[in-house]
């Protein structure tokens, strides 16, 4: 494999609104073909950072390169750059009176590398809804239309902002599968989400932002020292009392229990800290 290029490169990014520093000397590198999840509480500077990368907001200082281009640039060159990215925004409610097909087909006219309309509608699972007006769609269907509109130009880089808010569990799984196929096609994806299980299921790397700073970047398995964190083994002993023991090496506890019990160990479970627990600990500490 050729060495991965950096699709997004940010150095020393700063942005203030009046006396409030929203983003503070932030560094970030996202490689070609990876799914990067940006996590952080509301007001941590996540949205500001992403909107600067998307070209919506100006920055106070720092270097930003997205697909080798400075998103603060205006004019026709910026449109050539926008031709290569896809943006799926949060809570948009536009185009309610158009049909699914009309919306997607219209937006495809803006791009030079158009995806096949039928395939795209099929991929986002809106085949049965293609002739329906957008205002008749459910929240999840509406979101999938947003994704289709973000994908219609075959972007090299896709921004996904809270893509599965309001999805039922089944729709969420289907959506994750869609994102995974995009990754297989080589699309780089910057995901912001509040769902830690989503970040875990999709992301190659996650970054945690609090108070305008990126405090850690790691794989979901190693974030916040997760792989070394204590695992908890719980079971029910002979007298029916629920017992818990924590250890860095839970296998040793298990070995002991296997010797103690003949056959089944009642109510046995081994729990490692979830990404959510690690994340909450991290943002708790930084406060």
């Amino acid at each position: 494999m050729p060495p991965a290029k950096n699709v997004i490169q940010v150095k020393g990014l700063r942005k203030s609104y009046g006396s409030l520093t929203a983003v503070d000397s932030l560094d970030l590198t996202i490689e070609e073909g990876e799914i990067f999840a940006l996590l952080g509480p509301n007001g941590a500077g996540k949205t500001t950072t992403v909107e600067i990368l998307e070209g919506y907001r100006s920055r106070d200082c720092g270097e930003v390169s997205v697909l080798g281009f400075d998103p603060a640039t205006r004019g026709d060159v910026a449109n050539a750059w926008r031709d290569r990215i896809g943006i799926v925004l949060q809570d948009s409610a536009d185009g309610a009176d158009l049909t699914v097909e009309e919306s997607i087909s219209h937006f495809s006219k803006y791009y030079s590398r158009r995806r096949d309309l039928d395939q795209l509608i099929e991929a986002v699972g809106l085949d049965e809804k293609r002739k329906y007006r957008v205002h008749t769609l459910s929240g999840g269907q509406r979101r999938r239309l947003d994704v289709a509109l973000g994908l219609v130009g075959t972007p090299e880089l896709l921004f996904l902002d809270e893509p599965t808010t309001g999805f039922d569990p089944q729709a969420r799984r289907a959506f994750w599968d869609l994102i995974k196929t995009l990754k297989e096609d080589g699309t780089t994806i910057l995901l912001t989400t509040h769902y830690l299980d989503e970040a875990e299921a999709l992301a190659d790397r996650v970054g945690v932002i609090t108070e305008g700073k990126l405090i850690e970047v790691a794989t979901p398995a190693t974030l916040g020292g997760r792989e070394q964190a204590l695992a908890m083994v719980s079971w029910r002993d002979e007298s029916g009392v629920l017992r818990e023991e924590s250890a860095v090496d839970p296998t040793s506890i298990l070995r002991r229990l296997l010797n103690e019990f003949d056959g089944e160990i009642p109510a046995l479970s081994v729990k490692r800290p979830t990404l959510e627990e690690i994340y909450l600990r991290m943002i708790g500490q930084s406060r």
């Binding site: 919506y56 926008r82 943006i87 925004l89 409610a93 536009d94 158009l98 791009y111």
Partner: protein
Amino acid sequence: MSRVVQALRIGVNRGILEIKQFNRAREAVVFTIAFPVILLFIFGSIFDDEIAPSVTFSQYFVAGMIASGLVNSGFQNLAITIPMERDSGALKRLRGTPMPISSYFIGKSIQVAYSMSLQIVLLLFFGSLFFGLEIPEFGAKWLAFAWIVLLGSLSATVLGIAFSSVPKSGRAASAVVSPIVIILQFFSGVFFVFSQLPGWMQQFAAIFPLKWLTQGMRYVFLPDSFATQEVAGEFELGKIAIILTLWTIVGTLIAIKTFKWMRR
């Protein structure tokens, strides 16, 4: 050159899409198309006395309503719908695509032209059928009608875009914009005969385009003899052209400077 063609092509596509959406949003159709016709029937039926030799108030009023139509479908329509599009995230989404900015405004202009034509045709139809409006013979008056509609719709369109940054939200837009239009209609010789209004009202109205549009439409649709009833004793076509052009330039500059794609 190809960029210009591309912007135009996408702009026309946007225009078609805008018209589609306009037709499907029934409230908007009723508001901008049927409302002026309803007003025409109410005012035209109540006040049908002669205000000058062989000119009834109904005729005067139809001319004023056609002028108002330009302001409704240009200024009022855009100053209300653009803040709503900003709120719904439509503008932000568009800004994130490679759509040329000019295409958005080309699309808006096409939609304005469409709803304005519908409105004018309806007013001309009902006005001539029921309220004694006389469609002038081919010639100077048609020419004047053409450039007044063109300059009027241009100025109303750019001013609507310029004003779209004023309302704080899509919901507030209608409450901010509609009173301005209604007050201007009262002051500019739509609901009342302009020359009978208090002097300060006349002078205030003379700052804004609507007063000049109504005057121009009176030149087109009332007999030439009515010129003596105008405040200046004539229809002042030159002045109308200058003032509408000035507003178009000012509106364009403000629109370029202040247009916002995002909330906040």
